[in-house]
């Protein structure tokens, strides 16, 4: 009987092996290239020669951690959806790997010097290229942009955000087929970013809008057979993949790649396995923890692209008076004193944190606008110095009078609440390190983390951050109009209240001089003058220390050496996909 069982198992194994072998896809062979036979001189017409076998299509593969929910920019702010939009659709321009303007549909970038921005900064005129066509042959015109604006603003469309159109635009008109004019209600320095949206094909979507009163459910949103970018959609299998193919009519000429395979791989470990197996040329959304794995691969490199994001600490400087007035929760009274805030920063070793938790891949940013023209490189981060930190706390009057190990003043113990997004392991670890660090200088830390869908709820929805229910809160952020530096986060008028629940200054920061400088930069078109203003802002922020940069937060990509000419941008990551090529 035992022999029979062994035989049975053996048979099963053989059958399975044979079946799997049969199922294995046939190995693809490189098409053989034959030497052309030398032509023999003859007086008769030559025999028709056989066409050479077609070359294998040049293909690159990249994974997306999330599947785009749509291919219409109106309906998604998902990062991966943005990558897909930009591969297939054009806007006025893109920002390259050094954050310089790379013109696409615009023929010229507006400036005051070339007369395309009015002296008062309220009118911007954008001339368009006249040689760009949709893949169905229709020209891309200013009317497409005006239609796009109208779709953003129409009540029938459940677009994700209308910003900045609803805030700054008085009118957008087509002066002629190839000239867009934007008139603003007030100067908006972030216009080059905010108004730079992908054009919608009016001739495709307008009939849908007229019939249904909305383009929410338009086929084009997922089936973009008509595009104007370097690639067009060939196939989208839900949750599986997107296949893009080169657009022969792209205005720069056909891209080097014939196809781009985008696989939806929702598991980061699986993505790493695919990178290791060489199943993908690009890896996206990688983290510092992936560094050791990537370093083991001879053909793959890890690339950081500055994204403008900075992992930040925000100090709650909401005073008791402001809290009572605006129905907010005041921060710990000690945090009203900038000496205490600075002491906390100096008692926390960010360099060590980056080395131990983040494989040394990041650096400590001294200013909010790091790696940008607005960065004042003379400013150094406050150093890690326990002695100096304790001296600052003493100077501020916070000493341990009752011998319980925690500093106090006027009967108030110096115990602060640190909060971040629950479930983010590295941030939670940062909280624990912070707790230990503060114990060394006599500051107690309570940790209270919130899930991400609760943390960022608005003032009206009792969001803990918006309501000031923290003393120090951590997340990664970037200037609102990145790569433009403009941000409303620290304006007095942006402190939320029942009358203004949309306020974004959740930190209670209100410094008159800072307000003046932000107001001034908002109407300063001259770049050098604006840089000077930002550097002054940075010096105030460095001195007041209501914001602290924990670490830079670039996007990490892996790139297989098979794929060439790839330059990742932190703003428009795949901006030069038209130049990508595979190694010969």
């Amino acid at each position: 009987m035992k022999n029979k069982w062994s035989l049975f198992l053996l048979t099963i194994l053989i059958v399975l092996s044979l079946s799997l072998s049969a199922c294995a896809p046939a190995a693809t062979e490189e098409p053989a290239v034959e030497e052309p036979a030398p032509a023999e001189p003859t007086e008769v017409l030559p025999e028709p020669t056989e066409a050479p076998p077609p070359a294998a299509p040049k293909t690159a593969t990249m994974p997306f951690f999330e599947e785009p929910d749509t291919l219409n920019e109106l309906y998604s702010q998902m990062w991966f959806a943005g990558l897909a939009f930009d591969l297939m659709n054009l806007s006025f321009w893109q920002f390259d790997d050094v954050q310089e303007i790379n013109l696409e549909l615009a023929a010229e970038f507006p400036t005051i010097e070339n007369g395309l921005i009015s002296e008062d900064g309220l009118t911007v005129t954008i001339p368009l290229r006249e040689d760009v066509i949709w893949t169905d042959g229709a020209p891309v015109t200013a009317n497409d942009y005006v239609f796009t604006y109208e779709m953003f603003m129409d009540e029938g469309n459940a677009v994700q955000t209308r910003y900045p159109f609803d805030t700054f635009v008085e009118s957008i008109t087509a002066l002629d087929d190839y000239t867009v004019q934007i008139v603003m209600t007030e100067p908006y320095v972030g216009w080059a970013v905010g108004f730079d949206v992908n054009f919608l094909p009016k001739h495709i979507l307008e009939p849908v809008f007229e019939a249904e009163g909305t383009i929410d459910n338009a086929d084009w949103n997922r089936d973009q057979s008509v595009t104007n970018g370097p690639f067009k959609l060939k196939e989208w299998a839900a949750a599986s993949h997107l296949i893009l193919e080169a657009n022969d009519d792209y205005w720069r000429g056909r891209p080097n790649l014939d196809q781009l395979f985008i696989r939806i791989v929702p598991d980061d470990e699986a993505q790493m396995a695919a990178i290791k197996a060489g199943d993908t040329d690009i890896g996206s959304f990688l983290s510092a923890a992936d560094k050791p794995d990537i370093e083991e691969l001879p053909d793959v490199e890890l690339i950081a692209a500055s994204s403008g994001y900075v992992e930040s600490w925000f100090f709650n400087t909401i005073s008791a008076e402001l809290a009572a007035e605006n129905d907010l929760q005041a921060g710990h009274v000690a945090l009203q004193d900038k000496l205490v805030r600075r002491a906390i920063v100096m008692a926390f070793d960010r360099e060590e944190l980056i080395e131990t938790l983040y494989y040394g891949l990041y650096r400590v940013p001294a200013v909010f606008w790091y790696d940008s023209p607005y960065e004042d490189t003379s400013i150094e981060p406050w150093p890690y110095d326990l002695e100096a930190a304790m001296a600052l706390l003493d100077e501020a009057g916070w000493v341990d009078t009752n011998g319980d190990g925690t500093r106090d003043k006027d009967g108030v113990e110096l115990v602060i609440q640190y909060s971040t997004t629950a479930g983010h392991e590295l941030r939670e670890s940062t909280g624990l390190v912070f707790q230990q660090s503060m114990a060394e200088v006599g500051i107690g830390v309570d940790i209270l983390n919130y899930s991400y869908d609760v943390m960022w709820n608005s003032y009206g929805d009792d969001g803990p951050a918006a309501r000031g229910e923290y003393d120090i809160v951590e997340w990664s952020t970037l200037p609102g109009d990145f790569p433009d530096p403009n941000t409303p986060d620290w304006l007095c008028e942006e402190i939320p209240s029942a009358d203004y629940p949309a306020g974004v200054n959740w930190y209670g920061v209100c410094i008159e001089k800072l307000d003046e400088l932000f107001a001034q930069q908002a109407v300063t078109v001259d770049q050098d003058a604006r840089i000077q203003l930002y550097q002054e802002i940075e010096r105030i922020m460095h001195d007041e220390m209501f914001w602290m940069g924990v670490r830079t937060d670039p996007d990490f990509w892996s790139l297989n050496s098979r794929l060439q000419n790839v330059k990742f941008s932190g703003v428009d990551p795949l901006w030069n996909a038209y130049e990508w090529d595979v190694a010969p």
């Binding site: 069982w5 799997l20 072998s21 199922c23 294995a24 896809p25 693809t28 293909t59 994974p63 599947e67 929910d69 749509t70 309906y75 998604s76 702010q77 998902m78 990062w79 943005g82 009540e155 029938g156 459940a158 994700q160 955000t161 209308r162 910003y163 609803d166 459910n217 949103n221 997922r222 299998a237 839900a238 949750a239 599986s240 993949h241 296949i243 395979f261 696989r263 939806i264 791989v265 929702p266 598991d267 470990e269 699986a270 993505q271 396995a273 695919a274 290791k276 197996a277 199943d279 994001y309 899930s451 869908d453 960022w456 709820n457 608005s458 003032y459 009206g460 929805d461 949309a502 974004v504």
Partner: protein
């Protein structure tokens, strides 16, 4: 029997409505559907307010449930947010076959589910066949040779298999048979996906890509199922009628398949009947690891995004199938055991 089936179906209708109401309430408590709308940025309050109205989330939960169930084409809704109802809605409700539109994808829920359904069926039916085949063989063999060396080995491996986390097993298989086999120059399996995009969805391609995910699901499920089969068979083969069958001189194979297995199968049918609807739900973890575009991933994504229409669509379909398969299971009993009568 017909009256019994009709009665069960009629009883199921209020049951399903109650289940759907509970599920709807729970789904609404899962989180904020607009939380992920801002992408990497925070969503503005004014956009949040507008979207809340446009998606119908400004209504009380019970009104939202009512609209989900019976639609809103019979009532006027406020389209422009001025507080005054402007026009009739367009939703027909689940009872009229309209499962709504995904918050994230802005597409009909049934269309989204339909796309994933066939992929899940390919994966799960293959897995179920492999599971049942091996579980019955291993279970029966172990029962017939109780406490033998092979039985002890099988028992050990069953417990090991049963206790392995599915994500760990999937990744181990991927690293061994995809990454390392390729590195060692051996024939290797693909890491992710349903087929090689350069080749297309051919049967050999899909079969080849099925191997690792099916193996992952099967190893864990075979371990559990084979223990059920073994224990049921052990219970039956010691019964008097089995001894009688043997003493009548019937061949072993006949006794095992016709007498023992048929009777042992009754409780197993219950387990399988309960498991089959869950096949439709897919294998969330396995599908995520191997990037298999099935229902499990859809469910996971909808949960992450609090995409309530999609979530409700999946849950209601599974609830209906559970009820349907319970009725089918009850009917199957009558074929396996003539003593059972429902009239």
């Amino acid at each position: 029997m017909t009256r019994y089936v009709i009665r069960r179906i009629l009883q199921a209708i209020p049951l399903l409505i109650i289940i759907s109401a509970i599920l709807f309430l729970l789904a609404n408590e899962m989180g904020d559907p607009l939380a992920s709308f801002g992408g990497r940025r925070r969503i503005r309050s004014s956009d949040r307010e507008r979207l809340t109205r446009q998606l119908g989330l400004d209504q009380p939960v019970m009104v939202q449930y009512l609209i989900w169930l019976v639609g809103n084409d019979w009532m006027q809704i406020d389209v422009d947010g001025d507080g005054t109802p402007d026009e009739y809605g367009t939703r027909r409700g689940v009872l009229r076959g309209d499962f709504g539109t995904s918050f994230m994808e802005k597409r009909p829920v049934l269309e989204i589910i339909g796309e994933r359904f066939k992929n899940t069926m390919i994966l799960m039916i293959t897995a179920e066949i492999v599971i049942l085949f091996f579980a019955f063989w291993i279970g029966i063999y172990s029962a017939l040779r109780q406490y033998s060396f092979v039985d002890n080995v099988v028992t050990t491996f069953s417990f090991v298999g049963y206790s392995m986390p599915v994500f760990w097993l999937g990744l181990i298989l991927m690293y061994v048979f995809s990454v390392n086999f390729k590195r060692w120059g051996l024939p290797y399996f693909p890491t992710v996906g349903m087929y090689d995009l350069a080749v297309g969805p051919t049967i050999p391609q899909i079969a080849w890509h099925l191997v690792l995910p099916v193996t992952t699901i099967a190893i864990i499920s075979i371990a559990g199922y084979s223990r059920y089969v073994r224990s049921q068979m052990l219970e039956v083969i010691n019964q008097d009628y089995i001894r009688t069958a043997h003493s009548k001189g019937l061949p072993d194979r006949w006794v095992i398949t016709r007498h023992a297995l048929k009777n042992a199968a009754l409780p197993l049918i219950t387990i399988i009947g309960m498991d089959l609807p869950l096949l439709i739900a897919g294998a969330t973890v396995t599908e995520s690891i191997f990037a298999w575009p099935g229902m499990g991933r859809l469910y996971w994504d909808a949960t992450q995004d609090t995409d309530i229409p999609v979530l409700m669509g999946i849950l209601v379909i599974i609830s209906v199938l559970v009820v349907v398969f319970q009725i089918i299971t009850d009917i199957t009993y009558t074929f396996l055991d003539p003593r059972i009568r429902y009239e």
